[in-house]
């Protein structure tokens, strides 16, 4: 029966990009390599990258087909949250996967997300770096310390029910994502945390799968120094609003 369901399901992969001309090509190749028997589409939401990301995506459309790779560009940088909303409007699948373009989310884990969803019927399957089989590569001690501190703080104060709050590699039922995303207001880093906390509070069924996270290979990490302040503000905001 699971096989039949697999036939009917369609997965829309939303990938926001900004200056990722190399990464998006590599990512698309790896997605197609690891999902050979799955009906899916890749929706690239590009925020007017000056590096020619959109030209590369058009070339990829030539290779893989315009029905498999959708380019839904926006004129300028408008933020991550609205990028997902934008991609969601164009999604034709009954499931939506959200992932980063910078290869820190490896497409080889997509089958385990899909399998987990089919097995459990979960509303959301979220990738976690902090369980057996998961992990991080390329972080220094300071980054690890910040991450652990942030996690302990959030687990103690918010009781979120998931082990990795800020990871953004997730599979959603489309209707569930539409429901949650409309109530999320945070931007940037806190956005992912707010999504999963609101989902927990709404009582959605959330499952976890281990993923490994290799910090960006090409390009610079886009996390700035004000990250900690933003995080604490986000935590406080979630405490009083959820």
């Amino acid at each position: 029966m699971a096989e039949q369901e697999k036939e009917r399901n369609k997965y829309s992969l939303i990938v926001p990009t900004y200056n990722e001309r190399l990464n998006i090509a590599l990512l698309v190749y790896l997605i197609f390599k690891h999902l050979p028997d799955v009906d899916f589409e890749v929706i690239v939401v590009d925020d007017g990258s000056p590096d020619g990301t959109q030209e590369v995506v058009k070339e990829l459309q030539g290779v893989y087909g315009e029905d498999r790779i959708l380019l839904r560009a926006r004129p300028r940088k408008l933020g991550l949250g609205t990028a997902y909303c934008h991609g969601l409007k164009h999604a034709s699948g009954n499931f939506v996967v959200i992932m980063d373009a910078d290869l820190s989310h490896h497409p080889k884990y997509l089958p385990s997300f899909i399998r987990k969803q089919l097995q459990t019927g979960a509303d959301i399957v979220t990738g976690t770096r902090y369980v057996k089989g998961g992990g991080v590569h390329g972080w220094n001690l300071m980054r690890k310390l910040t991450s652990r501190g942030a996690n302990v703080l959030a687990q103690t104060l918010l009781w979120p029910g998931v082990s990795d709050l800020t990871g953004s590699f997730r599979l959603y039922k489309k209707s569930v994502l539409e429901d949650i995303i409309s109530s999320v207001v945070s931007k940037g880093y806190v956005f992912q945390m707010e999504m999963i906390v609101r989902a927990t509070r709404k009582g959605y069924h959330i499952e976890e799968v281990p993923i490994t996270f290799v910090d960006r290979v090409f390009g610079i990490s886009k996390l700035g120094g004000s990250e900690v302040v933003e995080y604490l503000k986000g935590l406080l905001y979630l405490l009083v609003t959820t």
């Binding site: 590096d51 057996k132 290979v217």
Partner: protein, 89 residues
Amino acid sequence: MKHIVKILTLLVAVSALWIGLLQASIIPHGHAWLLPIYFIVSLGCYGLLMVGIGLMTFPTCPREGLLLQQDIDEAKEYLKHKGVDINSN
């Protein structure tokens, strides 16, 4: 119920218990007065301990870096073959 209300309720319950202990004087007053300090200190210790444990058992995956590099080379080869221009401007 907002989450902050849950936490505050919990705090109120704990405070009530504390006042109860103070009134009932089951344990010596000097100790009972210090209980909130103990509570805060142990909370801090718990936090530090969890961060410490988290740091020590932090899952790393050095092999993944190499595997990804192989995948990247493979992808580059394929894309070059297909004529997709991926070189930076």
